[in-house]
Amino acid sequence: MLSYTVRRLGYMIVNLTLISIVCFYIINLPPGSFIETYSTQLDAAGSPASQAQLDYLTARYGLDQPLYVQYWNWIVPLVTQGDFGYSFEWQQPVWTLLADRLWLTIIFSIVSMVFVYAVSIPVALYSATHQYSFGDYSVNLLGVIGLAVPNFLLALLLLVGSAKFFGVTPTGLYSPQYMNAPWSWDKFVDLLIHLPVPVVVVGLAGTAATIRILRSQLLDEFQKQYVITARAKGVPERRLLMKYPFRVALNPIISTAGHLLPEIVSGSTIVAIVLGLPTIGPLLLRSIIAQDTYVAASSLMMLGVLTVVGVVMSDILLTILDPRVRMNRTN
């Protein structure tokens, strides 16, 4: 058990290193740099920058050095001092831009995961125990729709609907008065009020997929002989369900958490852009377009780190929960 955990954490560190390299290289691959974008902006504004000024900026940000030197200069302070570099566009350290958004992204992802499980487990239990009933068919139909509707379209539909019927567009995660306010209890409550809509939008596809998996797992388990034996011995139906098939069927749910989390982070990126949520997604989009290298690389990396760490945690959790997996992995 311990050796497995250590090995898994070791892999995780290798993966995180790879992520940082991949992110930095991808972001730096497009031709041109922020300096060029900046100088064309100044040209367009009618006050072209002098060559000396541009050279100074290039030298100051180390953009004239080879890429691996730039990477080294970025990753070393990041690991040793938590310094993510400097944003060309915002003229601020990247970390001040990222910090709040990172926390909100983490909170948002966790709440979405909780939502997915809180809805899908009871619904799947109902659906599997009432197979071919009206409720089962409606759940299936909803599942198909939930998987087919792109989440950003759903977000747009909700925005239009609420603008039409209530006259408000539910964007953002705070009311205006809390936008720049320091954290307080009221702000937290305000956040809770704003969370449900985006959480439902992001979680719908995952919920539909999880219901599908859990339902078919349960139906498979129902036909196993141990269930028939237990029923023949007169175990009450509810106790039978919760004690045997349900526990077995839960396993794939936990092991698919590793797929669910990247999906939620991926989906929340575009939904956050449509709904204007102050998470990492919109920052990433803007920095990619502006070629704001350090912000883009750091945002992309943070999203990758979030999913990789989440997946490792779900793997270790599964090992703790399932003795079969534990035996397999420790030997």
Partner: protein, 374 residues
Amino acid sequence: MTSITIDSESSAPQGGRVLSRSQIFWSKFYRHKLAVVSLGFILFLYAIVLIAEFVAPYDPFQRHTDHLLAPPTAITFFDADGDFHLRPFVHALKNELNRETFQREYMVDTSVRYKISLFVEGEPYNLFGFIPMDTHFFGVEGDGKIFLAGTDTLGRDLFSRMLFGARTSLFVGLFGLAIGFGLGLFFGGISGYFGGAVDNFVQRLTEFLQSLPTLPLWMALAALVPPHWTPIQVYFGISTILAVVGWTTLARVVRGKLLSLREEDYVMAAKVSGVSEAKIITNHLLPGFMSYLIVHLTLAVPQMILGEVALSFLGLGLRPPAVSLGTLLIDSQNIQTLVFSPWLLVPGGLIIIIVIAFSFLGDGLRDAADPYRS
């Protein structure tokens, strides 16, 4: 009980009709009604978008400047007096200033009727790029306009644009799939065939790619497409990006199937009987997992289409003037416009239908390909 007796009779060796693998496959597939309908719909859609110039009443770039953001045209059989006409017709649209709200509104002018006809003459075009024609499948006579899905902010017919957009998106899906298929087959193949260190490396690579959130990765890669590329180049660039991230699932399927099939008794039997390697691969291994590949390919198409749509919607994929289902949705980013012109979301409806059709088709194919499912 009757079903069992029938089964045992039909499976009796003597005198019974022996069904080939594909006959069994198709008879199972036809039982899945939704999948059959979906297959029909998908084939129909691909056929229609190939001849989009003919089916669309207008050119996708033609601007009807006096019909900016016009709502979908209503087709009726009854005129203002309530009289029935055998041929459907549309009324004229008048753009008027509302004296109370001071906004321009479209009023239906029921005094003017334009009959809808088939095979009308309209804008000239080249079918398949080289057959000059000017006949359109349907249209209205005279000065009338027909906008089945309304018009966009520049007054272009949304229905026509949707046909052209669907063409782009459907084929981006196929092209990206072809690249992803190649990559998946290659990596899955070497992983399953060589095993050992190669297998380990490919496994770690796919795990690594799968642990990353797809969309942010696509976004970052899409920035690689230089702004000066032609729409065709961007098109292939975006498909490649979709494939580079999306091949991992397929590689896993190929590897898993290859590994399990190599251990099967019948492969061992063939080997012992002295069948050549090449013949084992083509006659025994390939049919064994071709059906799985087709299922996975079918289920991967909507993922590719959704990827293109999301990227184009964010302004990182195909860019206007290129027409795709994603670029058509760019207009709907403005909520104020959208509230007054909800028909701008119609392309989204088409996307949903396409995705549903592909997933039903994939389900049907999977059930038909699974030998253990009756």
